[in-house]
Amino acid sequence: MSAAGKGTLSSTGNRAELLALLKQELGKNGSLSKTVLTSLADKTGLPLNEIYGVSTFYAYLPVAAAGKNIIRVCGCLPCDLKDAQGVIGSIKKELGIEPGQTTADARFSLEQVGCIGACDQAPAMMINDTVYGNLTPAKIAEILKSFK
């Protein structure tokens, strides 16, 4: 048997449960800090870089210090065609942050993510676990106000 098909590249430690554990830690701590990931590395026997790599791959596993409310604006094609950039522009104006940043009062983090599965309501965004669809730049201020 040659090298083909002999397990995965990173088969050390308990990789199968990593995503579930990360989700659990996220629920407990709100974001995945270095301390959280380091303790997870000890627990699973996986190297920290591997856990960091997995966490940064997923938009829903915020590694950087995240704000209290995380705004995820869909940046995929249907939303983009329906002016997702206008929506992002309106959020930027409202909060004064770029995608990938958190407001100074740590109330909001803004992220542009891949499809959130709400193409029928394009352009759409999520704030925490709630989906907001059929957005227009004008609607943003009011939605954000409800989180203040």
Binding site: S2, A3, A4, G7, L9, T12, P47, N49, G53, T56
Partner: protein
């Protein structure tokens, strides 16, 4: 284990079941270019330079990770294959933002040699923001210049499978993908010592011996 008969570039060959197309081609003296593959280690198939045409398959297949099958008819250098390889090399060059013009070691860059073999010139693709990372010189053994990195994952594989250190992983996604250490920190001595296996396997010079380390001669103190 059963044997499989297949044909590569018109040559009929019998190999053991489970052999990859690349290994079978090597066995009958046919060279298929590779880039991300390390002989003897698990294939990742990320670079696609080794693609070949398999009769009956709609798409080109990666030779380094496709196992042979009975009656397979493989062509390794058809115009379609060569055209695909050219674009693949061009795409990799697009993400390779090193100072290769001034680099005295550029002839060691596997990517540049591939570009020269396949007559690929300056990439024609526009890049929104070039992948640029400041060179890391904090490690006395390894100098990392991630701008030159084309994410072939050879260092990740070598560190995991040969050195068994697991210091390197791929983090982020898409254009932002990057080889990370720890919590995306500098490759410090705590995490990585002088094994140098990643340096040996890096095809682009993104990981190289630190200048001081290279100059050291004379061996250990007796």
């Amino acid at each position: 284990m059963a044997n499989v008969r297949l044909s590569i570039d018109g040559k009929s060959i019998k190999v053991r079941d489970g052999t990859t197309i690349l290994e079978a081609a090597e066995a009958c003296g046919i060279t298929i270019p590779t880039f991300c593959h390390i002989k003897g280690l698990l294939p990742t198939g990320v670079c696609r330079v080794c693609v070949v045409e398999v009769k009956g398959s709609k798409t080109l297949m990666g030779a380094c990770h496709t196992p042979v099958a009975e009656g397979m008819i493989v062509s390794t250098h058809t115009p379609r294959v060569v055209a695909a390889r050219k674009v693949i090399v061009e795409l990799m060059l697009t993400g390779h933002t090193g100072d290769c013009v001034n680099d005295t070691n550029a002839e060691n860059c596997v990517l540049h040699n591939l570009a020269s073999d396949y007559q690929v010139g300056a990439p024609r693709f526009n890049v929104k923001a070039p992948r640029f990372y400041p060179a890391e010189e904090s490690n006395p053994y390894v100098r990392r210049d991630l701008s030159k990195c084309v994410l072939c994952r050879k260092c990740v594989k070598a560190c995991h499978e040969i050195a068994r250190k697991d210091v390197l992983s791929v983090g982020y996604r898409g254009f932002k993908s990057k080889v990370v250490t720890g919590f995306d920190e500098a490759l410090n001595t705590e995490a990585c010592r002088d094994c140098g296996i990643c340096i040996e396997h890096c095809p682009t010079g993104a990981m190289s011996a630190a200048p001081g380390f290279k100059a050291r001669k004379g061996g250990a103190v007796r």
